[in-house]
Symmetry: C2
Subunit: 215 residues, 2 copies
């Protein structure tokens, strides 16, 4: 099975991180009616090097026009496809607390291809409530329904000490990817995709810059 060499190697993770920002920027331009955008403009917006932008976009099928730039519409269409934002994937969220509720409220996730179909908790206070039209169930309910509903992702927003328990449950549910918002690291079978999103890491970077770069 021979593939395009770029696909074989995979897209660099830093590139994947930047792409949603290009997309958001292009969507804004599209709304404003701008038809073309150059790598220079995008780079200026992102505070990065213009060649970085062209390199990143070269992983996709988007081609630019010399002296003009890229067609905004093409960036929007190709990039949302490329990033998997134009097909809707379903997710379960476990832990409908502060952060979990914020995610349930966020329509940005739907816009970027993620549809949270149900939430789970153990607290009687939250169970039964609807948050942004998404119902919160007791964690013991729906145990084998993930596969049936073709839910591919599990979102963990419980306290760190319960992250592993929840992860185990999600694996049992047949979920393929886990988005873990707790600072805890979870152990799962090799074929399960795990994305850790540790907000506190950002603090470390800010503090380091605050305390060293500046005087």
């Amino acid at each position: 099975m021979i593939q395009n060499s770029k696909k074989m190697q995979g897209v660099p993770e830093p590139t994947l991180r930047r792409m949603p920002c290009y997309l958001a920027f292009a969507e804004g331009l599209l709304r404003k009616g701008q038809q073309f955008v150059s790598s220079t403009q995008i780079a200026n917006y992102m505070n990065i090097d213009p060649t970085q932008v062209t390199k990143d976009l070269s992983y996709t099928s988007i081609v630019g026009k010399t002296r003009v730039g890229y067609e905004v519409k093409a960036i929007v269409d190709v990039l949302s496809d490329f990033l998997g934002f134009s097909v809707m994937d379903s997710a379960f969220l476990v832990g409908a607390g502060s952060l979990g509720s914020a995610l349930l409220h966020d329509n940005g996730l739907t816009h970027f291809g993620l549809n949270i179909v149900a939430a789970f908790d153990i607290s009687p206070i939250t169970i039964g409530r609807k948050i942004n039209d998404i119902e919160v169930f007791h964690i013991d309910q729906f145990r084998d329904l993930a596969q049936e509903l073709s839910v591919v992702m599990g979102i963990i927003t419980v306290p760190a000490e319960n992250a592993q328990t929840v992860a185990d449950l999600m694996v049992a549910w047949g979920i393929k990817a886990i988005w873990n918002f707790t600072p805890a690291r979870i152990k799962v079978p090799e074929d399960i995709i795990v994305q850790n999103t540790s907000l506190y890491s950002n603090l470390a970077i800010i503090f380091n810059k605050l305390h060293t770069e500046k005087n």
Copy 2:
């Protein structure tokens, strides 16, 4: 002014991202009463290479004992100092909506050295409320108080289209660092530190793995 060459070069950002995780892990071990931890154990927990752990820790003053590992207490103490988590920095949060409220509720931030002293919004519904004992003011209030209160950081959790307006305000307030949770990129003077935390980038990475690595 001659400095240690490691300090001159700066700590790599990936290292800074991993360090808070080492810290959280060590804190857990400390609570359980474990006295030593090896790079192998940490690496196993983090799903990374053990030499990565020793390299990362070598940026700090922590030294390990052959055949034993690192003292857990030392990791906790040195790392929280090193990351700037043991001195409290003050922040203003603007946009007390879903995500803003979650951050206001999160005591993890306090634990990692960030003290949100006040929140701002424009919606009459939220203004005047207290979230986790933090009062929400109208954005027009307190205009020059940031410096007086020595607030170094501004957190932006407003809708993307208002991010720039808020950023401009924060710069005028004399804030040194901005933690931007919107997908929009903001333009600020060079000496202002900006940390963009775009949750949607994580989606791009997960989807890419879901759609390519597997099968």
